[in-house]
Every structure is written in C-alpha cells, then in structure tokens.
Amino acid sequence: MRQWRIIAKEAMTRASIIGKFLCLLHVTDAYVLSSNHVLGPSMLPTLNITGDVVLVEHLSHRLGKLGSGDLVLVRSPLDPKKTLTKRIVAMEGDKVTFSLDSTRSHNSRSLVVPKGHVWIQGDNLYVSRDSRHFGPLPYGLIEGKVFMRVSNVNANSIAFGFVPQNEFNHIYWN
C-alpha cells in the first residue's frame, strides 16, 4: 500500500515538472520568441516559395515599436485559422497609393490608413493577396515581427540570416 503512495507522489512531482515546462514553453512561444514555417510565393524574393523557417519575436507589436518595412506575421482577416507573412508598407495616418494589377491598367487608388490599422503587402506584388484586396488590416491581428531566417543553402550547411527590411521601392506615400 505504501509503495503505491510513493509511486503516486513521484509521478505527481514529475508530472508537475512537465506541466510547468509546457507552460513556460507556451509563454515563450506566445510572448517572446517563436519559430514558424512560412511558405508561399507572395514574399519572393525575400522568402522562398518552398518554405523557410523564420524566427518571430512577439515583443515589438505589444510595445508599439512596429514601423513600415517590417516583416510581420498576421492572422488573416479572411480566415482566422491562417497566418500570413507580409510586409508593413504604411502605418496609421499614412497615405497609400496602389494599383490592384499593374500589368493590366495604370489606374491607381489612394487612401489614408485609418486609426488602429496598418497596410500590408507582399514583396511579390503579382501573386500576393494583401491589403490591396482586403483593405487595411486592424493592428490587433498582428502576431509578431520576423527578424531572422534559417535557410539551407545547400544540403550540408544551414545559414542564419537577418531578413532585409525596407523593401518598398514601388509604393509612394506622403
């Protein structure tokens, strides 16, 4: 009888250590730093089409330290279960000029980004579905800022690199 009690006590101690570790893992993942696998053609040439592992930090957007040119991970306004990786082009109050399809027409539209929203675009304008399609993005949907990328240069080596910021040479704003 006593043996079961000792075993149960030991099991509880071990389980509580694992539980505390999992809680710490969740807090770090959600509030400090996390790694995400992103893929798709909308951020070429910055990110690969077949997928990159990127490091995302979750502190800047809580402190309000995001600005234009930052690569961010956002929750899609069209499907809350999907996350997108795009670049912030304009913050609230800035004026954005864009054309939906530059291969077909020269028409362009301008608007001012409303309060509490940001304007995001993919680096590959031709295939990216971004704020030009669904409008300004509420700031609360931003989940983190991408600051580093892990990519395999060839089969034998892995390169860590900082992701280039300030890649918005095709949009004008005031």
């Binding site: 809680c23 969740h26 809350p80 309060k115």
Partner: protein
C-alpha cells in the same frame, strides 16, 4: 538564514505561478470585469439595488473556442477593438460570415472571416453599426458564465434575433 536564498526561492515561486496563470488564462478560461452598460441587462444592469451599483460584473471567458473559431449566432464574445488594439469589447454575435444583417439604413453582407457584433443595449453601444464587421481573428474568447455579483450568477444564454438576420446556413435547410 540566507536572505538571498529565501528571496530567490520566493521569486522562483512567483514566476512559476505567474507563468502557469498566464498559460491557463490564454488557453482555457479567464475571469474579466465588464465595464459599461452596452450589454445591459445581460451585464451591468443599472438597477437600484446596492450590489449592482457597487462594482462591475465579472464574467468567465472561455478560450477553447479559439481552436476552431466556430461561433454561433447569439454568442457573447470578447474581442480587441479594430480601432484600438489595446481595448477589448464584450458584445453579442448577431451575424456570421455569409449572412446579411439589416441595420437602419441598409443591409450589410458579412464577408468571409468576419462577424457582426452588437451590444444588447442598442441605445448606448458602440459596435458593428459604427465600426463595421469585425474580423474573427480579433476574437479573444467567449463569455459563458456570470460570476459576480452573486445574485446573478449563471450561464449566459444565446439570444438570436431572427427578424434582422438572413443567414445562409438557415436558408440551406429548405
């Protein structure tokens, strides 16, 4: 005695408790106070009784609904305001994606990934009638129970208003 050692162990315990509380409140449920009268009489009904006017209602917000983002008409949700990500609002879901919701002036179609929220106290509620459909990604939880004041403890029921909403899911039954 070793005061640094005692301090260190107290710090460790506080940190552990903090991390565990943060994880539980993010993933399972948390208790939040409700301010304002926009959800009267469901929360904060301003009757003349003493307990009602002393403090705000406290409600239980469950986060398990955030795994699938599956909401029903009449759910009371907590969401970040689209205009200010630091504020959170408590309102009731009146329309889900694909529905047509009737306001005073026109009928609005709820796009994919968004919902239409309104406060129960239509006279004094800042909701989707002012800031439009809310992306489901901004939802932070669903209110299930009222926990304070004691004489109003109970579940929060779903209340639907069939006459104003034409939902695509109910139309498909015919």
């Amino acid at each position: 005695m070793g005061t640094p050692r005692v301090l260190w162990s107290i710090t460790k315990k506080c940190f552990t408790v903090g991390v565990i509380t943060l994880t539980v409140s993010d993933l399972f449920a948390s208790i939040v106070p409700v301010r304002g009268a926009s959800m009267s009489p469901t929360f904060n009904p301003k009757t003349n009784s003493l307990l009602d006017s002393l403090s705000d209602d406290r409600v239980l917000v469950e986060k398990l609904c955030l795994r699938n983002y599956k909401f029903s008409h009449g759910d009371v949700i907590v969401f970040s305001s689209p205009n200010n990500h630091k504020e959170k609002h408590v309102k009731r879901i009146v329309g889900l994606p694909g529905d047509w919701v009737g306001t005073i002036y026109d009928v609005v179609h709820i796009p994919e990934g968004h919902c239409w929220v309104e406060g129960d106290n239509t006279a004094s509620s800042l909701d989707s009638r002012s800031f439009g459909p809310v992306p489901l990604g901004l939802v932070k939880g669903r209110v299930t129970h009222v926990l304070w004041p004691p004489h109003r403890v109970g579940t929060v029921d779903r209340k639907t208003s069939q006459n104003r909403v034409s939902s695509s899911s109910s139309a498909s039954k015919f």
